[in-house]
Symmetry: D3
Subunit: 69 residues, 6 copies
Protein backbone atom coordinates (compact mmCIF):
# COMPACT_ATOMS: atom_id res chain seq x y z
CA UNK A 1 0.00 0.00 0.00
CA UNK A 2 1.27 3.45 -0.88
CA UNK A 3 -0.10 6.48 0.97
CA UNK A 4 -0.76 10.09 -0.02
CA UNK A 5 0.83 11.25 3.23
CA UNK A 6 4.11 12.89 2.23
CA UNK A 7 5.83 11.70 5.37
CA UNK A 8 6.13 7.92 5.64
CA UNK A 9 9.21 6.79 7.56
CA UNK A 10 10.55 3.25 8.00
CA UNK A 11 10.93 2.75 11.73
CA UNK A 12 11.54 0.32 14.54
CA UNK A 13 9.28 0.20 17.59
CA UNK A 14 11.24 1.27 20.68
CA UNK A 15 8.51 1.19 23.31
CA UNK A 16 4.75 0.79 23.73
CA UNK A 17 2.97 2.25 26.78
CA UNK A 18 -0.66 1.21 27.21
CA UNK A 19 -3.37 3.47 28.58
CA UNK A 20 -7.07 2.68 29.02
CA UNK A 21 -8.16 3.57 25.46
CA UNK A 22 -4.93 4.78 23.87
CA UNK A 23 -1.35 3.59 23.61
CA UNK A 24 1.81 5.65 23.23
CA UNK A 25 4.21 4.17 20.67
CA UNK A 26 7.80 5.37 20.32
CA UNK A 27 9.34 4.71 16.90
CA UNK A 28 12.96 5.23 15.82
CA UNK A 29 12.98 6.53 12.22
CA UNK A 30 16.74 7.14 11.98
CA UNK A 31 19.60 6.60 14.45
CA UNK A 32 18.68 8.78 17.43
CA UNK A 33 15.57 10.24 15.76
CA UNK A 34 12.40 9.16 17.55
CA UNK A 35 8.76 9.84 16.71
CA UNK A 36 6.03 9.37 19.31
CA UNK A 37 2.56 8.26 18.18
CA UNK A 38 -0.66 8.06 20.16
CA UNK A 39 -2.92 5.41 18.65
CA UNK A 40 -5.79 3.36 20.05
CA UNK A 41 -4.76 0.46 22.23
CA UNK A 42 -6.77 -1.89 20.02
CA UNK A 43 -4.81 -0.70 16.95
CA UNK A 44 -1.53 -1.29 18.75
CA UNK A 45 -2.69 -4.82 19.54
CA UNK A 46 -4.05 -5.49 16.05
CA UNK A 47 -0.71 -4.42 14.50
CA UNK A 48 1.20 -6.53 17.02
CA UNK A 49 3.41 -3.62 18.02
CA UNK A 50 6.16 -4.73 20.36
CA UNK A 51 9.69 -3.49 20.99
CA UNK A 52 11.95 -4.20 18.02
CA UNK A 53 9.20 -4.68 15.43
CA UNK A 54 9.56 -3.03 12.00
CA UNK A 55 6.91 -0.39 11.36
CA UNK A 56 6.24 2.91 9.59
CA UNK A 57 5.44 6.35 10.99
CA UNK A 58 3.04 8.18 8.67
CA UNK A 59 2.30 11.90 9.01
CA UNK A 60 0.16 14.11 6.77
CA UNK A 61 2.05 17.21 5.68
CA UNK A 62 -0.88 19.40 6.77
CA UNK A 63 -0.27 18.18 10.35
CA UNK A 64 3.30 19.50 10.49
CA UNK A 65 3.90 22.88 12.15
CA UNK A 66 7.06 24.80 11.33
CA UNK A 67 8.78 26.99 13.92
CA UNK A 68 11.85 29.20 13.97
CA UNK A 69 13.86 30.63 16.87
Amino acid sequence: MEVSARNAFKAKVKKVVDGAVNAEVILEIAPGVEVTAIITKSSAEKLGLVEGKDAYAIIKSSDVIVAVD
Copy 2:
Protein backbone atom coordinates in the same frame (compact mmCIF):
# COMPACT_ATOMS: atom_id res chain seq x y z
CA MET B 1 9.13 28.37 23.87
CA GLU B 2 8.67 24.71 24.72
CA VAL B 3 5.75 22.82 23.18
CA SER B 4 3.56 19.95 24.36
CA ALA B 5 3.94 18.27 20.99
CA ARG B 6 6.09 15.22 21.59
CA ASN B 7 7.74 15.52 18.21
CA ALA B 8 9.81 18.68 17.78
CA PHE B 9 12.77 18.23 15.44
CA LYS B 10 15.58 20.67 14.70
CA ALA B 11 15.66 21.05 10.95
CA LYS B 12 17.02 22.96 8.00
CA VAL B 13 14.71 24.29 5.28
CA LYS B 14 15.47 22.49 2.00
CA LYS B 15 12.81 23.97 -0.24
CA VAL B 16 9.71 26.18 -0.18
CA VAL B 17 7.06 25.87 -2.93
CA ASP B 18 4.38 28.57 -2.92
CA GLY B 19 0.75 27.99 -3.85
CA ALA B 20 -2.12 30.46 -3.83
CA VAL B 21 -3.01 30.12 -0.12
CA ASN B 22 -0.62 27.43 1.07
CA ALA B 23 3.09 26.72 0.81
CA GLU B 24 4.86 23.38 0.86
CA VAL B 25 7.99 23.40 3.02
CA ILE B 26 10.55 20.59 2.95
CA LEU B 27 12.64 20.29 6.10
CA GLU B 28 15.66 18.05 6.72
CA ILE B 29 15.52 16.79 10.32
CA ALA B 30 18.49 14.41 10.08
CA PRO B 31 20.91 13.57 7.24
CA GLY B 32 18.67 12.22 4.49
CA VAL B 33 15.49 12.40 6.60
CA GLU B 34 13.04 14.95 5.21
CA VAL B 35 9.68 16.11 6.54
CA THR B 36 7.20 17.93 4.30
CA ALA B 37 4.90 20.55 5.84
CA ILE B 38 1.96 22.37 4.29
CA ILE B 39 1.49 25.73 6.00
CA THR B 40 -0.17 28.97 4.91
CA LYS B 41 1.85 31.07 2.53
CA SER B 42 1.54 34.02 4.90
CA SER B 43 3.06 31.92 7.72
CA ALA B 44 5.95 30.91 5.49
CA GLU B 45 6.57 34.57 4.74
CA LYS B 46 6.16 35.69 8.36
CA LEU B 47 8.73 33.10 9.49
CA GLY B 48 11.09 34.08 6.67
CA LEU B 49 11.44 30.49 5.48
CA VAL B 50 14.06 30.20 2.77
CA GLU B 51 16.40 27.42 1.75
CA GLY B 52 19.10 26.85 4.34
CA LYS B 53 17.32 28.50 7.25
CA ASP B 54 17.27 26.76 10.65
CA ALA B 55 13.78 25.74 11.71
CA TYR B 56 11.82 23.13 13.66
CA ALA B 57 9.28 20.57 12.51
CA ILE B 58 6.62 20.07 15.19
CA ILE B 59 4.13 17.20 15.07
CA LYS B 60 1.48 16.24 17.64
CA SER B 61 1.76 12.58 18.58
CA SER B 62 -1.99 12.14 17.97
CA ASP B 63 -1.33 13.02 14.30
CA VAL B 64 1.09 10.13 13.74
CA ILE B 65 -0.27 6.95 12.14
CA VAL B 66 1.62 3.69 12.61
CA ALA B 67 1.71 1.04 9.88
CA VAL B 68 3.27 -2.40 9.49
CA ASP B 69 3.90 -4.50 6.39
Copy 3:
Protein backbone atom coordinates in the same frame (compact mmCIF):
# COMPACT_ATOMS: atom_id res chain seq x y z
CA MET C 1 0.71 -2.44 4.66
CA GLU C 2 -1.69 -2.34 7.59
CA VAL C 3 -2.31 0.96 9.36
CA SER C 4 -3.12 1.90 12.95
CA ALA C 5 -5.82 4.27 11.74
CA ARG C 6 -9.09 2.68 12.75
CA ASN C 7 -10.85 3.95 9.67
CA ALA C 8 -9.51 2.52 6.40
CA PHE C 9 -12.14 2.24 3.68
CA LYS C 10 -11.83 0.60 0.28
CA ALA C 11 -12.89 3.21 -2.23
CA LYS C 12 -13.06 4.21 -5.86
CA VAL C 13 -11.83 7.62 -7.03
CA LYS C 14 -14.78 9.65 -8.33
CA LYS C 15 -13.08 12.94 -9.12
CA VAL C 16 -9.77 14.78 -8.72
CA VAL C 17 -9.66 18.60 -8.74
CA ASP C 18 -6.18 20.14 -8.91
CA GLY C 19 -5.20 23.36 -7.17
CA ALA C 20 -1.80 25.05 -7.07
CA VAL C 21 -0.34 23.02 -4.18
CA ASN C 22 -3.25 20.81 -3.15
CA ALA C 23 -5.72 18.52 -4.88
CA GLU C 24 -9.26 17.63 -3.82
CA VAL C 25 -10.01 13.93 -4.22
CA ILE C 26 -13.55 12.52 -3.98
CA LEU C 27 -13.70 8.84 -3.03
CA GLU C 28 -16.77 6.58 -2.96
CA ILE C 29 -16.44 4.21 0.01
CA ALA C 30 -19.88 2.59 -0.33
CA PRO C 31 -22.72 3.08 -2.83
CA GLY C 32 -23.68 6.74 -2.44
CA VAL C 33 -21.23 7.37 0.40
CA GLU C 34 -18.48 9.78 -0.62
CA VAL C 35 -15.44 11.00 1.30
CA THR C 36 -13.54 14.12 0.22
CA ALA C 37 -9.79 14.31 0.81
CA ILE C 38 -7.43 17.25 0.39
CA ILE C 39 -3.93 15.98 -0.34
CA THR C 40 -0.92 17.57 -2.00
CA LYS C 41 -1.05 17.68 -5.78
CA SER C 42 2.28 15.86 -5.94
CA SER C 43 0.85 13.01 -3.84
CA ALA C 44 -2.18 12.75 -6.13
CA GLU C 45 0.18 12.48 -9.08
CA LYS C 46 2.54 10.02 -7.37
CA LEU C 47 -0.40 7.72 -6.53
CA GLY C 48 -1.76 8.05 -10.07
CA LEU C 49 -5.21 9.05 -8.84
CA VAL C 50 -7.67 9.26 -11.72
CA GLU C 51 -11.41 8.68 -11.92
CA GLY C 52 -12.28 5.01 -11.49
CA LYS C 53 -9.06 3.96 -9.75
CA ASP C 54 -9.24 1.72 -6.67
CA ALA C 55 -7.96 3.44 -3.55
CA TYR C 56 -8.39 3.65 0.22
CA ALA C 57 -9.59 6.50 2.43
CA ILE C 58 -7.74 6.43 5.76
CA ILE C 59 -8.85 8.53 8.74
CA LYS C 60 -7.40 8.57 12.26
CA SER C 61 -10.12 8.09 14.86
CA SER C 62 -8.84 11.13 16.78
CA ASP C 63 -9.76 13.24 13.71
CA VAL C 64 -13.45 12.31 13.79
CA ILE C 65 -15.88 14.73 15.45
CA VAL C 66 -19.24 13.43 16.66
CA ALA C 67 -22.35 15.61 16.56
CA VAL C 68 -25.98 15.20 17.55
CA ASP C 69 -29.06 17.23 16.62
Copy 4:
Protein backbone atom coordinates in the same frame (compact mmCIF):
# COMPACT_ATOMS: atom_id res chain seq x y z
CA MET D 1 -25.79 24.00 12.19
CA GLU D 2 -23.97 23.43 8.93
CA VAL D 3 -20.23 22.73 8.99
CA SER D 4 -17.39 23.50 6.60
CA ALA D 5 -16.11 19.94 6.97
CA ARG D 6 -16.76 18.25 3.65
CA ASN D 7 -17.47 14.95 5.30
CA ALA D 8 -20.54 14.93 7.55
CA PHE D 9 -22.28 11.56 7.71
CA LYS D 10 -25.59 10.71 9.35
CA ALA D 11 -24.86 7.81 11.67
CA LYS D 12 -26.11 5.60 14.47
CA VAL D 13 -24.04 4.97 17.59
CA LYS D 14 -23.07 1.28 17.73
CA LYS D 15 -20.86 1.26 20.80
CA VAL D 16 -19.19 3.58 23.32
CA VAL D 17 -16.08 2.43 25.23
CA ASP D 18 -14.97 4.73 28.07
CA GLY D 19 -11.35 5.35 29.00
CA ALA D 20 -9.99 7.63 31.72
CA VAL D 21 -10.01 10.86 29.66
CA ASN D 22 -11.18 9.68 26.24
CA ALA D 23 -13.99 7.54 24.89
CA GLU D 24 -14.04 5.43 21.73
CA VAL D 25 -17.30 5.80 19.79
CA ILE D 26 -18.24 3.48 16.92
CA LEU D 27 -20.71 4.97 14.45
CA GLU D 28 -22.46 3.21 11.54
CA ILE D 29 -22.71 5.67 8.62
CA ALA D 30 -24.16 3.19 6.09
CA PRO D 31 -25.12 -0.49 6.36
CA GLY D 32 -21.89 -2.25 7.32
CA VAL D 33 -19.78 0.93 7.13
CA GLU D 34 -18.46 1.93 10.54
CA VAL D 35 -16.42 4.94 11.60
CA THR D 36 -14.52 4.99 14.89
CA ALA D 37 -14.10 8.29 16.76
CA ILE D 38 -11.98 9.08 19.79
CA ILE D 39 -13.51 11.99 21.69
CA THR D 40 -13.22 13.17 25.29
CA LYS D 41 -15.28 11.19 27.76
CA SER D 42 -16.93 14.41 28.92
CA SER D 43 -18.03 15.15 25.33
CA ALA D 44 -19.50 11.67 24.98
CA GLU D 45 -21.45 12.26 28.19
CA LYS D 46 -22.53 15.79 27.23
CA LEU D 47 -23.87 14.52 23.87
CA GLY D 48 -25.62 11.61 25.60
CA LEU D 49 -24.03 9.08 23.26
CA VAL D 50 -25.46 5.62 23.85
CA GLU D 51 -25.99 2.63 21.57
CA GLY D 52 -28.71 3.29 19.02
CA LYS D 53 -28.65 7.09 19.23
CA ASP D 54 -28.71 9.14 16.01
CA ALA D 55 -25.53 11.14 15.48
CA TYR D 56 -23.19 12.53 12.84
CA ALA D 57 -19.58 11.70 12.05
CA ILE D 58 -17.74 14.83 10.87
CA ILE D 59 -14.29 14.69 9.26
CA LYS D 60 -12.27 17.55 7.76
CA SER D 61 -11.11 16.73 4.25
CA SER D 62 -7.55 17.72 5.17
CA ASP D 63 -7.57 14.84 7.69
CA VAL D 64 -8.22 12.15 5.08
CA ILE D 65 -5.24 10.19 3.73
CA VAL D 66 -5.54 8.43 0.39
CA ALA D 67 -3.74 5.14 -0.28
CA VAL D 68 -3.46 2.78 -3.21
CA ASP D 69 -2.28 -0.85 -3.40
Copy 5:
Protein backbone atom coordinates in the same frame (compact mmCIF):
# COMPACT_ATOMS: atom_id res chain seq x y z
CA MET E 1 -26.45 20.44 16.06
CA GLU E 2 -24.16 19.95 19.03
CA VAL E 3 -20.60 18.76 18.47
CA SER E 4 -18.20 16.62 20.47
CA ALA E 5 -15.41 19.09 19.80
CA ARG E 6 -14.70 20.78 23.13
CA ASN E 7 -13.91 24.07 21.48
CA ALA E 8 -16.87 25.65 19.65
CA PHE E 9 -16.75 29.44 19.62
CA LYS E 10 -19.40 31.86 18.39
CA ALA E 11 -17.68 34.13 15.91
CA LYS E 12 -18.06 36.76 13.23
CA VAL E 13 -16.37 36.40 9.85
CA LYS E 14 -13.75 39.14 9.46
CA LYS E 15 -12.25 38.22 6.12
CA VAL E 16 -12.27 35.47 3.47
CA VAL E 17 -9.27 35.01 1.13
CA ASP E 18 -9.81 32.59 -1.76
CA GLY E 19 -7.12 30.31 -3.17
CA ALA E 20 -7.41 27.74 -5.93
CA VAL E 21 -8.75 24.88 -3.80
CA ASN E 22 -8.71 26.35 -0.30
CA ALA E 23 -9.93 29.53 1.36
CA GLU E 24 -8.53 31.27 4.42
CA VAL E 25 -11.25 32.47 6.80
CA ILE E 26 -10.55 34.85 9.68
CA LEU E 27 -13.07 34.68 12.51
CA GLU E 28 -13.35 36.95 15.55
CA ILE E 29 -14.36 34.84 18.56
CA ALA E 30 -14.07 37.60 21.18
CA PRO E 31 -13.15 41.30 20.94
CA GLY E 32 -9.64 41.29 19.49
CA VAL E 33 -9.34 37.48 19.50
CA GLU E 34 -9.13 36.10 15.98
CA VAL E 35 -8.98 32.50 14.76
CA THR E 36 -7.81 31.66 11.24
CA ALA E 37 -9.31 28.64 9.46
CA ILE E 38 -8.27 27.01 6.19
CA ILE E 39 -11.26 25.29 4.62
CA THR E 40 -12.06 24.26 1.05
CA LYS E 41 -13.21 27.07 -1.19
CA SER E 42 -16.35 25.11 -2.02
CA SER E 43 -17.19 24.86 1.71
CA ALA E 44 -16.71 28.60 2.13
CA GLU E 45 -19.12 29.15 -0.75
CA LYS E 46 -21.63 26.56 0.47
CA LEU E 47 -21.72 28.20 3.92
CA GLY E 48 -22.04 31.66 2.35
CA LEU E 49 -19.12 33.02 4.36
CA VAL E 50 -18.75 36.75 3.85
CA GLU E 51 -17.44 39.52 6.08
CA GLY E 52 -19.77 40.20 8.99
CA LYS E 53 -21.60 36.86 8.91
CA ASP E 54 -22.21 34.98 12.18
CA ALA E 55 -20.38 31.68 12.33
CA TYR E 56 -18.69 29.23 14.69
CA ALA E 57 -15.06 28.16 14.96
CA ILE E 58 -14.85 24.50 15.99
CA ILE E 59 -11.59 22.88 17.12
CA LYS E 60 -11.03 19.35 18.42
CA SER E 61 -9.17 19.38 21.72
CA SER E 62 -6.69 16.80 20.37
CA ASP E 63 -5.65 19.42 17.78
CA VAL E 64 -4.55 21.98 20.36
CA ILE E 65 -0.85 22.18 21.23
CA VAL E 66 0.20 23.75 24.52
CA ALA E 67 3.43 25.71 24.84
CA VAL E 68 5.24 27.54 27.63
CA ASP E 69 8.05 30.10 27.52
Copy 6:
Protein backbone atom coordinates in the same frame (compact mmCIF):
# COMPACT_ATOMS: atom_id res chain seq x y z
CA MET F 1 10.28 30.33 19.12
CA GLU F 2 7.78 31.51 16.53
CA VAL F 3 5.42 28.99 14.96
CA SER F 4 3.80 28.67 11.55
CA ALA F 5 0.46 27.90 13.19
CA ARG F 6 -1.72 30.95 12.58
CA ASN F 7 -3.45 30.58 15.90
CA ALA F 8 -1.15 31.06 18.89
CA PHE F 9 -2.92 32.49 21.93
CA LYS F 10 -1.40 33.65 25.20
CA ALA F 11 -3.26 31.80 27.92
CA LYS F 12 -3.41 30.87 31.57
CA VAL F 13 -3.85 27.26 32.69
CA LYS F 14 -7.21 26.89 34.45
CA LYS F 15 -7.24 23.16 35.12
CA VAL F 16 -5.33 19.95 34.34
CA VAL F 17 -7.10 16.56 34.48
CA ASP F 18 -4.83 13.52 34.23
CA GLY F 19 -5.79 10.30 32.46
CA ALA F 20 -3.69 7.17 32.00
CA VAL F 21 -1.83 8.33 28.85
CA ASN F 22 -3.39 11.73 28.15
CA ALA F 23 -4.19 14.85 30.11
CA GLU F 24 -6.94 17.39 29.52
CA VAL F 25 -5.73 20.97 29.90
CA ILE F 26 -8.13 23.93 30.07
CA LEU F 27 -6.59 27.26 29.03
CA GLU F 28 -8.14 30.74 29.29
CA ILE F 29 -7.09 32.76 26.22
CA ALA F 30 -9.25 35.83 26.96
CA PRO F 31 -11.61 36.70 29.82
CA GLY F 32 -14.26 33.97 29.70
CA VAL F 33 -12.83 32.34 26.56
CA GLU F 34 -11.50 28.85 27.29
CA VAL F 35 -9.72 26.38 25.04
CA THR F 36 -9.46 22.69 25.96
CA ALA F 37 -6.39 20.73 24.88
CA ILE F 38 -5.73 17.00 25.08
CA ILE F 39 -2.00 16.38 25.30
CA THR F 40 0.06 13.45 26.60
CA LYS F 41 0.37 13.28 30.37
CA SER F 42 4.14 13.23 30.02
CA SER F 43 4.03 16.50 28.03
CA ALA F 44 1.86 18.12 30.68
CA GLU F 45 4.41 17.10 33.29
CA LYS F 46 7.41 18.13 31.20
CA LEU F 47 5.89 21.60 30.67
CA GLY F 48 5.03 21.87 34.38
CA LEU F 49 1.41 22.74 33.64
CA VAL F 50 -0.43 23.66 36.82
CA GLU F 51 -3.35 25.98 37.52
CA GLY F 52 -2.39 29.61 37.06
CA LYS F 53 0.70 29.00 34.89
CA ASP F 54 1.23 31.15 31.78
CA ALA F 55 1.06 29.15 28.57
CA TYR F 56 0.09 29.32 24.90
CA ALA F 57 -2.63 27.49 22.98
CA ILE F 58 -1.44 26.76 19.43
CA ILE F 59 -3.81 25.58 16.70
CA LYS F 60 -3.06 24.96 13.00
CA SER F 61 -5.52 26.80 10.79
CA SER F 62 -6.16 23.59 8.83
CA ASP F 63 -7.57 22.09 12.06
CA VAL F 64 -10.30 24.71 12.45
CA ILE F 65 -13.81 23.84 11.21
CA VAL F 66 -16.22 26.66 10.41
CA ALA F 67 -19.96 26.25 11.00
CA VAL F 68 -23.02 28.44 10.49
CA ASP F 69 -26.54 28.15 11.92
